[in-house]
């Protein structure tokens, strides 16, 4: 393993993932270093969410390896991986619809020492004051933006070292997107939280991230700093023109 991979918090090497007989990831290599915000952009169906789910072991990679914090997590069961300090705000948000907002947040804190609960809850509420107002409401009745805040809040309640965010801007009003991205940046700056962000909204994501990867059809085709990728013509043509808010 290279020395770069060793100081990476997350390192993915040659990962291939299948859904049944259909291949979704065709040998993906990527790293996320401690304290970084890394984004993965690409078109719909490129395999971005699959990569995120493969990191969490559902589905498991058929080939290649995934190391997190120096440990091989490639074949670990999902709940074991998540117990090591990874949290995900998944595609489609997956809020528990028949649980209250507070219960959803409690689910996030499932593995954390209950003595931290009050403080962590206050932090999440400070980040997303809307959630405090909605605390007693059922998750399924929230608006899309509120659900997104809840999904991120729930992920934060587990005190993660690595936060995986899958399309947090999907279907949300620009103002709310700005608020959510602002919150992510703040967590990264003040707490040193490492973030891996999957986005279709390439412009915002690349502006926010330290580094980025571009995925096409199950492969990483480009990588570089956010600013570099923003300047590349291929990126502009494929993901930015006409799509910038």
């Amino acid at each position: 393993m290279s020395s770069q991979a060793q100081d990476a918090l997350l390192s993915v090497r040659g990962v291939e993932t299948y859904y049944g007989k259909i291949i979704a990831l065709r040998g993906v290599d990527m790293d996320v270093h401690r304290g970084e915000i890394v984004t993965l952009i690409g078109a719909n169906g490129a395999g971005k969410s699959t990569l995120m789910m493969t990191i969490c072991g559902t589905p498991q990679a058929r080939r290649g390896s995934i190391h997190y914090d120096g440990q091989d997590i490639t074949t670990m069961p999902t709940h074991e991986i998540m117990r090591r300090g990874i949290a995900q705000s998944p595609e489609g948000r997956r809020i528990f619809p028949r649980m209250t907002v507070l219960e959803n947040l409690q689910m996030g804190a499932q593995l954390v020492d209950p003595r931290h609960f009050r403080d962590d809850l206050d932090k999440v509420y400070a980040l997303f004051p809307r959630l405090r107002e909605r605390a007693a409401q059922r998750g399924g009745t929230l608006s899309g933006g509120e659900q997104q805040m809840l999904a991120i809040g729930r992920a934060l309640m587990s005190r993660p070292k690595l936060l995986l965010l899958d399309e947090p801007s999907l279907g949300l009003a620009p103002l709310i997107v700005k608020q959510i991205f602002g919150a992510v940046l703040e967590l990264n700056r003040t707490e040193g939280l490492t973030v891996f962000l999957v986005e279709q909204n390439a412009f915002h994501a690349l502006k926010l991230a330290h580094r980025g990867y571009v995925m096409v059809n199950g492969r990483i085709t480009m990588s570089g700093t956010g600013a570099e990728l923003l300047k590349r013509d291929e990126v502009r043509a494929a993901y930015l023109e006409g799509g910038v808010h």
């Binding site: 069961p77 709940h79 998540m82 997956r94 619809p97 409690q106 689910m107 499932q110 009745t141 929230l142």
Partner: protein
């Protein structure tokens, strides 16, 4: 009036037993979407274990203090029956998870036959009697009808059954709604993949669901034994089907629904026997089920599947 009150008491007693079994059906359905047809036989095994423990304590070890014997029998029956429930899930259902939907259902029917035959072979096919242990009761009302005097009796046995059921169901509801274990259980019910993404061990949670259902079925098994005084290897079938009916009536997947459904089925059965004919009591219970399914397919307290995406 007296007759009505008496039937009401009897119905609530029987309904308590159905309700306790129904919880096992509804919880398993809620979490993995299968009907565990072997659950009725888990109830039957619970009653056999209770009988065995009772006889060992009284005849072999010479215990005479009845409340202690009953309590011990109940606890041991719950523990051992839970182990049975756990084993059934581990051996017969878990390997089929992710298989096509009918597979675990068919296996459950097979498991039911296996359990019945196992008990038939090891315990014999004849009924096992237990002389009445708890006698007497409280006279609530006295009245007279055209046919003579009538006394409304609330027997100590009925008090024990109803009180135990209320206590257990309260404890159980608190467990599901207030504890982190119950929260994890509900999370698995609503979105198993997300629960795993939050670090919940889904397989273990499913096992626990079977264990809890089996423990409550064991309580029902022991109540049944004490109430009727006879059991055999086949009691799980009818009781199981009735409890399943109760779960569907109340809205399968809903805990309060299972309790309510159990009570209703008990009441329907008893009132039908009391006012119409004993022979057709099962027909009455199942007809109500058919009617409810036609007009209210998700049951009385079932959750309609409306969710924002």
């Amino acid at each position: 009036m007296e007759y009505f009150v008496q039937q009401l008491i009897n119905g609530l007693t029987l309904g308590s037993i159905y309700g306790l079994i129904a919880i096992g059906y509804t919880m398993v359905y809620g979490i993995i979407g299968m009907i565990n047809f072997a659950h009725g036989d888990i109830f039957m095994i619970g009653s056999f274990i209770a009988l065995t423990v009772f006889l060992i304590l009284t005849s072999v070890l010479g215990f005479t203090f009845l409340p202690l014997v009953l309590l011990l029998a109940l606890v041991v029956a719950m523990l051992f029956t839970s182990a049975w429930g756990w084993t059934v899930e581990r051996l017969a259902y878990r390997p089929l998870r992710g298989s096509f939907r009918l597979a675990p259902l068919i296996t459950a029917i097979g498991m039911s036959i296996v359990l019945q035959n196992f008990v038939q072979v090891t315990q014999g096919a004849r009924v096992k009697p237990l002389p009445p242990q708890i006698q007497g009761g409280i006279t609530l009302m006295e009245g007279s009808t055209a046919n003579g005097a009538i006394v409304v009796q609330l027997s100590y046995m009925q008090i024990i059954i109803i009180v135990t059921t209320v206590v257990l169901m309260t404890a159980f509801t608190l467990l599901i709604t207030r504890t982190s274990l119950g929260r994890a259980q509900r999370a698995c019910e609503q979105d198993r993949k997300m629960a795993a993404l939050l670090g919940v061990n889904v397989d273990r949670t499913i096992s626990l669901t079977f264990v809890m259902g089996a423990a409550l079925a064991a309580v029902a098994g022991m109540m049944f034994l004490l109430l009727y005084g006879v059991i055999d290897f086949y009691i799980g079938f009818l009781a199981g089907v009735k409890a399943f009916t109760a779960a569907v009536l109340g809205g399968i997947g809903s805990l309060p629904g299972a309790m309510l459904g159990g009570l209703l089925i008990g009441l329907i059965e008893v009132f039908w026997s009391g006012y119409f004919s004993v022979e057709y009591k099962d027909v009455a219970a199942f007809s109500i089920l058919a009617i409810v399914l036609i007009f209210l397919p998700s049951g009385l307290l079932g959750k309609p599947e409306v969710e924002k995406v």
